[in-house]
């Protein structure tokens, strides 16, 4: 299936907040109560439609332990969107958001769209972080915000898709230079008006065969 655009996403946040579960719910529409530990990075992909255009999301799901930050930093490069996740039942994961945000801002493209996600909204009885707090943090730092549940799938689609909508709007406004792959956006194989304007390598980037 050929797409109009490919967006690279990165999912970040403390360990155990549900990053891999959010990804699995979004790509496979299922929930695994006990997910394998993520070491380094794992990958996911899904097609979505925005404004009648097919968009492929290439999602990098990173390890959350602080020790790995030095490694995951290099994965921000070329990301168009980031999902910054905390766990509403563990206050410390919310307290660490500032460090995550600093890291993300410092190592990514300045136009990267960041979506703040308070996950595990199904565990209301164990809630330690109020929704208003998430809201306030997002407003203060200019992020989009949502509470999600990877278990019930509540808001999971919306979180991934709204991020893409924001990126798409930025493309329409001309904020993103789509010919520069460092922005985390690639033009799909059939979509380009003229192949000559494409950077080398993207001309033959059909989803099945990759490169060369």
């Amino acid at each position: 299936m050929s797409y109009a655009y490919l967006f690279k996403y990165i999912i970040i946040g403390d360990t155990g907040v549900g990053k891999s579960c959010l990804l699995l719910q979004f790509t496979d529409k299922r929930f695994q109560p006990v997910h394998d530990l993520t070491i380094g990075v794992e990958f996911g992909a899904r097609m979505i439609t925005i404004d009648n255009k097919l968009i492929k999301l290439q999602i990098w799901d990173t390890a959350g332990q602080e020790a790995f930050r030095s490694i995951t930093r290099s994965y921000y490069r070329g990301a168009a969107g980031a999902l910054l996740v905390y766990d509403i039942t563990r206050r410390e994961t919310f307290n660490h958001l500032t460090t995550w945000l600093e890291d993300a801002r410092q190592h990514s493209n300045s136009n990267m769209v960041i979506m703040l996600i308070g996950n595990k909204s199904d565990l209301e009885s164990r809630r330690e972080v109020k929704k208003e707090e998430g809201d306030a943090f997002a407003r203060e730092h200019g992020l989009i915000f949502m509470e999600t549940s990877a278990r019930t799938a509540a808001n999971v689609e919306e979180a991934f898709i709204n991020t893409a909508k924001e990126i798409y709007e930025k493309i329409q406004e001309g904020v993103f230079d789509i010919n520069n792959e460092a922005n985390g956006i690639k033009i799909g194989p059939q979509h380009s008006p003229s192949n000559a304007s494409l950077p080398p390598g993207s001309q033959s980037s059909s989803p099945s065969s990759g490169c060369c």
């Binding site: 360990t15 155990g16 006990v34 997910h35 394998d36 530990l37 070491i39 380094g40 990075v41 794992e42 990958f43 996911g44 992909a45 290439q58 390890a63 332990q65 602080e66 020790a67 790995f68 030095s70 490694i71 390598g201 980037s205 989803p207 099945s208 065969s209 990759g210 490169c211 060369c212």
Partner: protein
């Protein structure tokens, strides 16, 4: 009628193969336990031992073989393990913020290298086996071992991925021996570099691996270069867990056998063996499919396929050994 006869023949053949495999296993077990292991120092480098070793250790001698192969350069005693466990226990029971903890060095250790994180990760270690989860038979054992290690090496602390190494050892030996093997394994150069996240040294390992990949599978190397599928994306997980997360337990145990025979070089040889086995598919995959494939290998990978593939991988390039290539990467001026 004919199909019934065929089926019966098929069943007979399967049964015969099973019997043959059982005979071979019994024979190998006898050689290992009666001839090789009792005279380990004499026997360990003999050609016959090395050949038998390549074929995989029988599960019942595995624990003993691994202990001997890893050895105990750090001279850790069972008593020391007991002391570390007791300290860890004390820390677990002490309320946060109290000053009577024995392990004061923890205070300086990374905040996340804590007991809570270990607890969180234990249930995420081989979840499908259902033995390391809370209430499972090995939960406490794995927990104690990792907590004891944090007490033993507060400077390293707990790093995600360690639980897989510890779990594999626990499945093959009792807790104090598993601890001794664990600490000694993690003290070897490759795992020490990776678990302390020594990036320049990790890069040296990646570059060495890339040289081997280029030599063994030039077209796949070129394809990966072009699609920007870099080794760190999949090698980290393989090195951290010695393939125990990527492969089934049976196949991973076979890899462990020869890893403990050949050392760190075998980690990278196995990695190229995996790539060699799936080369045709990988050559047709783009960045995303390729990286997804390598971070989650097919479930039906068998030891026979893998080892056949690994045996075709060579680790000497223009008379330079793995160690020499690595050394030239760590000291680029010597090139």
């Amino acid at each position: 009628m004919i199909s019934e006869i065929k089926e019966a023949k098929q069943r007979k053949k399967v049964l015969q193969n099973q019997l043959k495999a059982e005979d071979e296993l019994a024979h190998a077990t006898k050689i290992w336990s009666q001839e090789i292991l009792p005279k380990w120092n004499q026997m360990k480098s003999q050609r016959r031992t090395l050949e038998l070793w390549w074929q995989g250790a029988p599960p019942c001698v595995r624990g003993k073989l691994w202990r001997l192969a890893i050895s105990n350069d750090l001279n850790i005693t069972h008593d020391l393990y007991g002391i570390c466990v007791a300290r860890a226990q004390e820390r677990l029971n002490s309320t946060p913020g109290s000053t009577d903890s024995v392990c004061d060095s923890f205070r300086d250790a990374d905040r996340e290298a804590s007991m809570e994180l270990i607890q969180l990760d234990i249930s995420r270690t081989f979840p499908h086996l259902c033995i390391f989860q809370k209430g499972g038979p090995y939960y406490d054992m794995l927990h104690c071992l990792l907590a004891a290690y944090v007490c033993y090496r507060p400077d390293v602390g707990y790093v995600q991925g360690m639980s897989f190494i510890a779990a594999i050892l626990i499945l093959n030996m009792d807790a104090p021996d598993a601890f001794i093997c664990f600490a000694n394994l993690l003290n070897r150069p490759c795992h020490r570099a990776f678990y302390s996240l020594d990036q320049p040294l990790m890069e040296a390992y990646y570059s060495t691996y890339n040289e081997l990949l280029k030599e063994n599978l030039p077209s796949l190397f070129a394809h990966f270069e072009c699609s920007k599928l870099t080794p760190d994306l999949y090698l980290l997980d393989w090195v951290y867990t010695v393939f125990s997360k990527a492969m089934s337990l049976d196949v991973a145990s076979r890899v462990w056998d020869v890893f403990l025979r050949d050392g760190e070089e075998f980690l990278f040889r196995t990695a190229i063996g995996v790539l060699h086995l799936y080369q045709d598919s990988l050559l047709n995959m783009d960045f995303l499919s390729g990286s997804k494939f390598l971070t989650k290998l097919p479930d039906d990978l068998t030891a026979a396929q893998l080892f056949k593939s690994i045996s075709s991988v060579h680790t000497i390039i223009s008379k330079r050994s793995f160690g020499q290539i690595l050394a030239s990467q760590t000291h680029p001026s010597d090139k």
